[in-house]
């Protein structure tokens, strides 16, 4: 008899839990979508081809009846985006409507005619508490809503090394490994806090409402605005003698040292190397570069950038030439594609293959084929690494971009040069190479001008002059194309045609 009652109690408790769980998931049933993307990732090492097609899955959150918010990385280099809702068994094609590569966020749009009913948009709440219990909502491919519990650990200022942007994230923890890119994060009372940004090493972050709302607002502007970015680097300046050297009074406890001011981004025109930043937009900066946030305590002051819009003017108090000064600084941004050593989050790699010599632009996409950024210090030719250190955010003195001879595909025409790789071009037939278009023009004009040879020189004088005979070039190119199965000998995307 007693056993019967125990079973009954368990049955009642289990049913209650199921009902509660269902109740908590129900409001989001029509707000979360399952996303499946197929992508062709360009192979920057063999730029005439792509890696084999890849399928990724992730999650999205409805921000309009036919608009879905997700992570940009999920749809990078996509060939097809498909979404599935909880109420419709078939996959529907979606289009990338807007993308912000700095924040890694994207808005997808769906054709209303393809949906049985509109999605239910959510509103994000800024009311976040650390330690708060929360759950990640995920729609499985079988259209089941699957909540996983977790909690918010701590706020963190995340710096994206590819884009140069900093913003406030929250570190999440969960015992479950079933956390997917773009998954919705909710707290008690069905408050939607944001979405999951999976980082490396199984660490997940929450992109909070503060960032998401700002993104959605900026995307409505024409043209869409980017997030402001810092145009400088700083170092701690807390040693008393170092402070006194700059004549900072002992009673002045604030200030961080500007070790480098870029040619791009916020402060690039107003700030100077050696300035000590005391206050940024009303927030005092301590000697380690931290400010006191009303809610989250000490955070790196760079998170303040994500609170502003580009072209906003902020008051900055600094210590310069032995005096305290307050100046206006205009919040600025930049696109990674426009930097001297760019990163192209989309598009095809530019290349020229002439006589088996492969010429490519020096960009982060190519460097990432050599290793992760932490490995570049040891993997890269030190001259390239030096340009990377000095020119990531500084214009070159004598050129706009760098062009590399990345490798040589062996052919009798280029015999003796097979060993050359990753060498920076300086000139072709004596003409300085300032960008990829210059290289393209010189290589093609050399063949048109009926000059018998193309002569390529390099930044490093110990690299031999590469000489390409023009007469046999056409035939050699055909043989190289055939031998190495190369469909096209050059690809010059539009962004490389616009110089001069």
């Amino acid at each position: 008899m007693s056993k019967y009652w125990v079973y009954c109690i368990f049955f009642v408790l289990f049913s209650c839990l199921r009902i509660c769980g269902a109740a908590s998931r129900e409001p989001f049933k029509n707000s979360v979508v399952f996303i499946k993307t197929d992508s062709l990732i360009p192979d920057y090492r063999r730029p005439w081809q792509n890696y084999s097609s890849e399928t990724q899955t992730g999650q999205g959150i409805a921000v309009g009846p036919y608009e879905i918010l997700t992570l940009a990385s999920l749809i990078q280099y996509h060939t097809l985006i498909q979404v599935q809702t909880s109420f419709q068994s078939t996959f529907i094609e979606a289009k990338a409507a807007q993308i912000d590569w700095d924040l890694n966020l994207a808005i997808l749009s769906i054709d209303p005619a393809a949906l049985d009913q509109p999605l239910k948009p959510v509103s994000f709440t800024k009311d976040i508490q650390t330690g708060e219990k929360l759950f990640f909502v995920r729609l499985t491919e079988g259209r089941q809503l699957l909540p996983v519990e977790g909690k918010i650990e701590s706020p963190e200022v995340y710096y994206n090394p590819l884009s140069g942007a900093s913003f406030l994230f929250f570190r999440l923890s969960s015992s479950s490994s079933q956390i997917e890119t773009g998954q919705m994060v909710c707290a008690e009372n069905n408050r939607v806090l944001g979405l999951v940004y999976p980082s490396k090493n199984q660490i997940n972050f929450l992109i909070p409402a503060l960032i998401l709302d700002s993104f959605l607002k900026r995307m409505k502007e024409k043209p869409a605005q980017s997030i402001p970015k810092a145009g400088f680097t700083f170092s701690a300046w807390d040693q008393p003698d170092s402070r006194r050297f700059l004549k900072i009074p002992d009673q002045e406890k604030r200030g961080v040292y500007l070790s480098e001011v870029f040619d791009f981004g916020t402060g690039s025109t107003e700030l100077k190397e050696g300035d000590v930043l005391l206050n940024w937009d009303g927030k005092d900066i301590d000697p380690q570069g931290m400010v006191e946030d009303d809610k989250w305590g000490k955070l790196s002051f760079t998170y303040l950038f994500s609170r502003s819009k580009t072209q906003d003017k902020v008051k900055v108090t600094l210590w310069r030439d032995g005096q305290k000064q307050t100046i206006d600084v205009v919040m600025l941004s930049f696109h990674t594609q426009d930097l001297p050593i760019p990163y192209h989050p989309e598009g095809e790699p530019a290349y020229i293959l002439e006589g088996g010599f492969l010429f490519q632009e020096l960009n982060l996409n190519y460097l990432r084929t050599i290793g992760q950024d932490k490995e570049w210090k040891t993997n890269l030719d030190p001259l390239i690494f030096d340009f990377l250190v000095k020119n990531s955010f500084h214009v070159f003195k004598d050129r706009e971009r760098m062009v590399l001879l990345t490798r040589v595909l062996p052919h009798p025409l280029n015999q003796g040069y097979f060993h050359l790789k990753d060498k920076i071009l300086s000139s072709i037939n004596g003409k300085k190479i300032r960008n990829f278009k210059d290289a393209f023009d010189m290589l093609s004009s050399g063949t048109k001008d009926q000059a018998p040879y193309l002569s390529v020189d390099f930044e490093d004088p110990s690299v031999p002059t590469v000489v390409i005979p023009v007469n046999p070039l056409k035939q050699a190119n055909l043989e190289i194309q055939k031998n190495y199965s190369i469909f096209t000998l050059s690809k010059i995307p539009d962004e490389h045609r616009g110089y001069d």
């Binding site: 030096d386 015999q415 031999p464």
Partner: protein, 506 residues
């Protein structure tokens, strides 16, 4: 046990069954078919066992030494009572003993001459009786490929002489691991060579054709000999009373790409190598330029792959330089834009601002100011970053190592000075992140050598010292008064015997 300085150059273990069968086969070939030259052999009593006790100093904290290390190697006596061995057997040795075969007595020896670039040394034994009853050996020629040689020595520290046979399997150029950067001719053999064989003679027809010195751990039975030609060069080098080493041409070259033959209008009957770069401090500066084709050296025609035929051997043209002494002249022939040129060049050693070869100084110079330890940036310091030091060392070191000419534009610079350590105190602890940075200026005084450091610290900017580093825009600021006031306290606290090693810093 003989030390091996580079893991790339480990001795291989003794011969296995396959080796034995191979040797047997070769023996049969030699004996019955007479394919290889007939070999006479008398067991030499001039092969000596060498016992060394070495002390290595910490490159970053040069007053600190490693525990004393005992090792043993081999050597041999040449005519003229010259006791030869490898430099790596005795480098940094504080105490050396030598022992003859069949005699219990150990004799005290000291290094008389040492060449780290050639991995060769001559020891001097003070006892006049040491050379009694020894039959000195004589140097022979480079042995022929596939001929049999006998290696004599004391492998693995054994007390009795060991003799192993092998064939000459290759004659090539490789990097000598003792200096870590110098490339010379070697004779490769499959004779069983082990730790302790280093410095021992390798004999053919009772003549020394090489000295066992390093092996290849990744291959099977690959041991290397220093050829008699390099030993002869060393013996000639010391005739003037000092070791000058091997001269350099100071050129960077490439086997001639076929297309360059037409492009640079080289006559059809000529061959040669393409000049890429000429070192501004080398003997060919303002003689050769980029895109010249070097066609002949001392009358020996250079082939497109950079080889010449010398004494019946196909060797790299650089062998001519290696066999020349410092200040000797050689004749060069080259083509520039189709025009033939000739000139005699006096060979020198290039005074590299950053010498990456190991020098094995017995003690290193340093200067300590404000608790900051400054040393010369050189091969010892760079090799301190481990087996793959050329990738593991800090970026500025790599940049200067690979692109010396591009970044060394200051003619005043003798060498680079690096902040090797911080003896931490409350006033200088913030200098720790600057460790391994290369000094650019102190108080606006450019730093070209260690002596400049002391001078620069005497020129403080008001109450402060301002230190600036290569490739770093953030200055290091130190309180000048505390820097001098705390100096003696810091030396005492960290048990440093003196603030600078003046002798070496001069």
């Amino acid at each position: 046990m003989v030390k091996v300085k580079d893991t790339k150059a480990q001795w291989h273990n003794g011969p296995n069954r396959e080796d034995f069968l191979s040797l047997l086969f070769i023996f049969c070939c030699v004996f019955f078919l007479g394919q290889a030259p007939a070999d006479t052999f008398t067991i030499p009593n001039a092969v000596i066992q060498i016992f060394s006790h070495e002390q290595v100093f910490n490159p970053a904290l040069p007053w600190l030494s490693s525990p004393l290390n005992a090792s043993s190697g081999s050597g041999f006596v040449l005519e003229g009572n010259l006791l030869l061995t490898n430099a790596h057997v005795v480098s940094q040795a504080k105490y050396i003993e030598v022992k003859k075969q069949n005699e219990a007595k150990r004799y005290l020896a000291v290094i008389k001459w040492i060449s780290h670039v050639s991995d060769l040394a001559i020891l001097e034994v003070s006892s006049s009786t040491f050379y009694d009853n020894l039959t000195p050996l004589s140097l022979g020629p480079i042995p022929k490929l596939n001929s049999i040689v006998k290696a004599a020595g004391f492998p693995l520290g054994g007390e009795k002489l060991s003799i192993t046979n092998g064939i000459v399997s290759r004659i090539d150029r490789i990097i000598y691991s003792h200096s870590g950067v110098d490339e010379h001719l070697v004779i490769q053999t499959d004779a069983a060579l082990n730790l302790g064989n280093s410095g021992g003679p390798v004999i053919q027809n009772d003549l020394v054709v090489g000295m066992a010195f390093q092996g290849l751990g990744t291959g099977d039975n690959i041991g290397y000999l220093i050829p008699s030609t390099l030993i002869k060069h060393f013996l000639q080098d010391i005739q003037d009373g000092h070791v000058d080493g091997v001269p350099e041409l100071g050129i960077n070259f490439l086997p001639l790409p076929p297309v360059m033959r037409q492009f640079l209008r080289l006559p059809q009957e000529k061959s040669g190598i393409l000049i890429n770069d000429v070192h501004p401090l080398g003997p060919c500066h303002q003689i050769l330029i980029k895109n010249d084709i070097l066609t002949s050296i001392n009358g020996y025609p250079i082939l497109d792959d950079g080889s010449i035929t010398l004494e019946g051997l196909q060797v790299a043209f650089y062998e001519i330089i290696e066999r020349s002494q410092m200040n000797e002249s050689i004749s060069l022939e080259w083509y520039r834009n189709g025009e033939k040129n000739n000139q005699t060049v006096r060979l020198t050693k290039i005074p590299f601002v950053l010498d990456v070869g190991m020098t094995y100084e017995t003690h290193r110079g340093y200067v300590i100011c404000a608790g900051l330890v400054f040393v010369k940036l050189n091969g010892e310091y760079m090799h301190f970053f481990g087996k793959d030091w050329w990738t593991q060392m800090p970026h500025p070191f790599r940049l200067l190592y690979y692109y010396q000419t591009r970044f060394n534009q200051d003619p005043e610079r003798k060498y680079y000075v690096v902040l090797s350590a911080v003896l931490k105190d409350f006033f200088n602890a913030h200098a720790a992140p600057f460790q391994n940075e290369i000094l650019q200026t102190i108080n606006d005084v450019p730093i070209h050598c260690l002596d400049d450091v002391k001078t620069a610290f005497s020129k403080s900017k008001g109450s402060f010292h301002v230190l600036r580093f290569f490739e770093n825009s953030t200055p290091l600021i130190l309180n000048a008064e505390k820097s001098s006031a705390r100096q003696s306290h810091l030396l005492k606290k960290y048990a440093v015997p003196m603030a600078m090693d003046q002798e070496k810093s001069q």
